[in-house]
Symmetry: C2
Subunit: 542 residues, 2 copies
């Protein structure tokens, strides 16, 4: 390896080796961008100097509460200033920040409190009942609740707990941040969405978050002072690490309690928002906004979308409105996005709208901070890049989790053969772009043939009466598995099972057509994903 | 520190921990930016696909020559494609790239060949005589010379050595790159300019170069596909690491054998150059270009300048021509630039031209990849940020060298008290911006008072007859040291020593006026810096 014959005196020391951490970005911003607007939420407008000070007070306040290095501090907060501050203030006292999804049920929140072992929970007044109920349902020791009131939105302090502002007021604005000495120290604990079962506790290291911010700048074509709107919940992969990125750029974080088309348009028009991320459903919302909610703007807004490919119709409509959409892909396990559908230009610039949409439907190529993203077969060998052969997306790079908390078996399984195995089934196009067809667990194997549930769902959703459809495998004596569809109908319609089956046969090969169709509401996660594992249980019992 | 109570299974593995190296940028670019123009030099126009392949062939060719991991491969090449390729091809076989200043004398080149222990030297035909003479003057084993012809510029192969293109032709385009397994492995060996004595061999690690590229993107406000002109020699701190940065952005490296105003204007006009770096002398050249060498362009060109603060007159002229100048500061020991005079806007935007020039004369604040840059007193304590108190610039961060090769004493001294001590004397303004007044070795201490040689030189250069002036300390029985000036006069002038001394007394306090003035040509380094250590020797013997 690249060691010289004589390396005497060439080791690491405190001058030439500093642990990578996103905390460094805010420390620098507090000096370099001192008077620049850092966080904006209605009348709450803090400069970088003030933001840094509030984070220091938070860290100091937590230490006074007894929080020790390595302890977990959880949050149940919408995309508000306190949630952004927790991203710096919690690790600034060397604790691990565990942002919890505010839409979860009591049982799951209790599970997370217990599993993560939170010492303190910062909780928004709106979610106080949820937090209290979860604490009551816990098995282990209860965390201290600190209440974050949001008077601007009419959520006033209950008086039952110490408030966040009180905690800050008692904190030392000159608190000396405890920076990691090892960049592998734990920074954050994030539970997966629970689409495929119980959420798993994903642990992030400081190094990964730092490098995630550096790479995202490049992919998102960001220069100094972007204005970033928080649509992606900060409790979802820490908002794809964007809160940690902003001080690197002297950017402004525009907070948004409730996501609506009006809120997005207002933020663009009044705050000059230049960038935001969101699921395709947010794009739909913007496209379908009523006229009085729309606002004019004259710059292009850069949008990252993930979770599912944006629908072609949405895409062409929203791009005409002044938004540039880039699909990205990733998982909680990868700090958020790790591939991007980089727009190559060249021939692509001449494509018509369906052609553009077909390209933008791909998940794309590795982002700059990642070493390698590819599709592997069941022996973990690369599949041919032919756009046809399916395999599992495998990911290698510095924005990959340390592992699942207290679950070394699942961790080892996820890391089999040198890569993180995503559980997502995809093809790789000749230009190396990855395109997802399904989750591994959702593939249906019928008579030895792989059937993509996503493909059948796409056909069903083309039926005029169908609102939402999900297809899972039903055990079958002859074929092994056969497709079984669950369908939500549009109000006032009542097609028969036979109608829908024959409709799918117009497009699909016979073996791909569902053998059974059930009409019912579909079970969803708190992030709106359909929980197929619940449907599979139903299909098994048919 | 931030370790959780139970971290079982949360260690590093090959999926979640990859050694940081700029080599990863080119590997990714070869896929993502495959057909994009990577390197341009006249008729030599290579895409990223081709560039990657040529670098692989170089690595393979070197291995066939017997180069082993950790061996040194030197270059004596202007800013040409082969020099860019060496930045990737040499480390791709795990060797250490040692780009040598082509303007050095035979003795110094021989010293570097011996000290660095180069196994192979890639040498441009123009510098073959230099390389051969240096080999003849060496004490140790001679390296293999590989000749890089430049037929476009009329430098044809001598026939005496294997050519670079032959070496590549014999190399395997599918050569498997040997990536570092530890990011602390050595990547490059760079000798300092020798302003203060024998050049020292500075060793870079892969991690530092990687992070340097990531931070520079932000400071230089770069987005995808910049067009970068090579003015800063790639043999000077590896051209401030810009060659390693370009593939991260899918940028184009425009090569330039000889720097001239015409070449710069042509590159902007015909190649669409968006960014370049250069010493203030290059800015002068552009400002003073004759009309027929100028070309029109309608975009703003971003320029980093370092080595000395840009002169106010140059600055206002060049910015009117469509260039935006940012002063940066750094040393060979810090991979190039580590501070930037970030333009804060706000009140500054209202400044008049002298006001702007006064700000842009500062070296500024730490760049994003650096942890801390400050000014410390002789006890290594921070000086007050008052714009007056002088001290030494101290630097901490990941773009700091491993140390000086085979010189552990000098290394330890440079790293005293947790920072790299730069040897540059500066003040820190209240907003934390650093401004250099002198090199530590050049400060004159007279009767206990510090005198800045730079200040006296500035006054002398205001005299109409003076072309260039340098001031050093002369030992003095009464005062300890007194200022002694060396002056180059403009042709046809002949002021007396007394004339110049009385001229300086009009502006300077008596104790700052030089006590002696000598008229002679000034000794300079190959990078054009005045060698005060030579002048000090002369002054001692007076
Ligand atoms: N651009 C995208 N296109 C298609 N699917 C995507 C995209 N981005 C993310 N996904 C899907 O989302 C998944 C990651 O989601 P997340 O980590 O929030 O939890 P989950 O996988 O839904 O839940 P759990 O792991 O608990 O079952 C990916 O594995 C993939 O299936
Ligand atoms: N923007 C700047 N303004 C003023 N001086 C600068 C600036 N940038 C660099 N310098 C000077 O250049 C020096 C770094 O130069 P370099 O590393 O090329 O070699 P050198 O210090 O001249 O040579 P040696 O170390 O061998 O004496 C700095 O220490 C500083 O004195
Ligand atoms: Mg998952
Ligand atoms: Mg030096």
């Amino acid at each position: 390896m690249g060691w010289m014959a004589d390396e005497t005196g060439l080791g690491k020391n405190s001058a030439n080796h500093v642990a990578l951490t996103p905390l460094s970005h805010l420390r620098r911003a507090a000096v370099v961008f001192k008077d620049h607007l850092a966080v904006s939420y209605g009348t709450h407008r803090k400069t970088y100097g003030e933001y840094y000070q509030r984070c220091s007070q938070l860290a100091s306040g937590l230490v006074k509460l007894g929080v020790q290095p390595g302890d977990v501090v959880a949050t149940l907060i919408p995309n508000l200033p306190a949630q952004a501050e927790a991203h710096f203030g919690v690790p600034a006292c060397s604790a691990v920040v565990n942002t919890i999804n505010t839409r979860l049920d009591v049982g799951t929140v209790a599970y997370i409190f217990d599993h993560g072992g939170a010492k303190v929970v910062l909780v928004d007044s709106q979610f106080l009942d949820l937090a209290e109920a979860a604490v009551a349902a816990m098995e282990g020791a209860a965390p201290v609740l600190i209440e974050v009131a949001d008077d601007q939105a009419g959520w006033h302090a209950s008086g039952k707990h110490q408030t966040y502002e009180d905690l800050l007021a008692g904190g030392d604005p000159d608190f000396d941040w405890i920076l990691p000495t090892d960049e592998w120290e734990s920074l954050a604990l994030n539970y997966t969405s629970g689409t495929t079962g119980r959420p798993k506790g994903v642990v992030y290291h400081h190094r990964g978050a730092y490098l995630m911010t550096m790479g995202t700048v490049v992919s998102w074509r960001m220069t100094l002072h972007p204005v970033y709107l928080t649509i992606v919940p900060m409790f979802h992969c820490n908002g794809w690490n964007h809160t940690w990125m902003m001080p690197l750029l002297g950017g402004t974080v525009v907070c948004c309690r409730d996501v609506s088309a009006k809120a997005v348009y207002n933020a663009i028009h009044y705050e000059g928002v230049t960038h935001f991320g969101g699921a395709p459903i947010v794009l739909n919302m913007i496209v379908n906004a009523v006229d009085e909610d729309r606002r004019s703007f004259d710059h292009q807004v850069e949008v990252f979308t993930a979770g599912a490919p944006p629908a072609p119709a949405t895409l062409s409509k929203i791009e005409d409105l002044g938004f540039n959409i880039t699909q990205v892909y990733g998982l909680t396990e990868t700090y958020g996005h790790v591939t991007e559908c980089y727009w190559k230009g060249g021939d692509w610039d001449g494509l018509d709208k369906p052609g553009v949409a077909a390209i933008k439907a791909r998940q794309g190529v590795a982002m700059p901070m990642m070493e390698h993203v590819l599709v592997r077969d069941s022996d973990h060998q690369p599949v041919p890049m032919d756009g046809v052969t399916q395999g599992e997306i495998a990911i290698r790079g510095n924005a990959v989790m340390k592992g699942y908390l207290k679950n070394p078996e699942a961790t080892a399984e996820a890391f089999a053969d040198g890569y993180f195995n995503s559980g997502d089934i995809a093809v790789q196009h000749p230009d190396s772009y990855v395109q997802i067809s399904d989750r591994a667990k959702d593939i249906i194997i019928s008579g030895g043939e792989n059937i993509s549930s996503v493909e059948i769902e796409g056909v069903l959703m083309g039926h005029p009466d169908v609102n939402l459809a999900a297809v899972v495998a039903k055990p079958d004596d002859k074929w092994g598995e056969v497709p079984c569809a669950f369908v939500e109908l549009k109000p006032g319609t009542s097609p028969s099972e036979a109608d829908l089956i024959s409709f799918t046969r117009q497009t699909l090969a016979g073996f791909k057509a569902p053998k059974k169709v059930l009409f019912q509401e579909l079970p969803k996660t708190s992030t709106g994903k359909i929980q197929k594992f619940e449907l599979r249980k139903l299909a098994e019992d048919l």
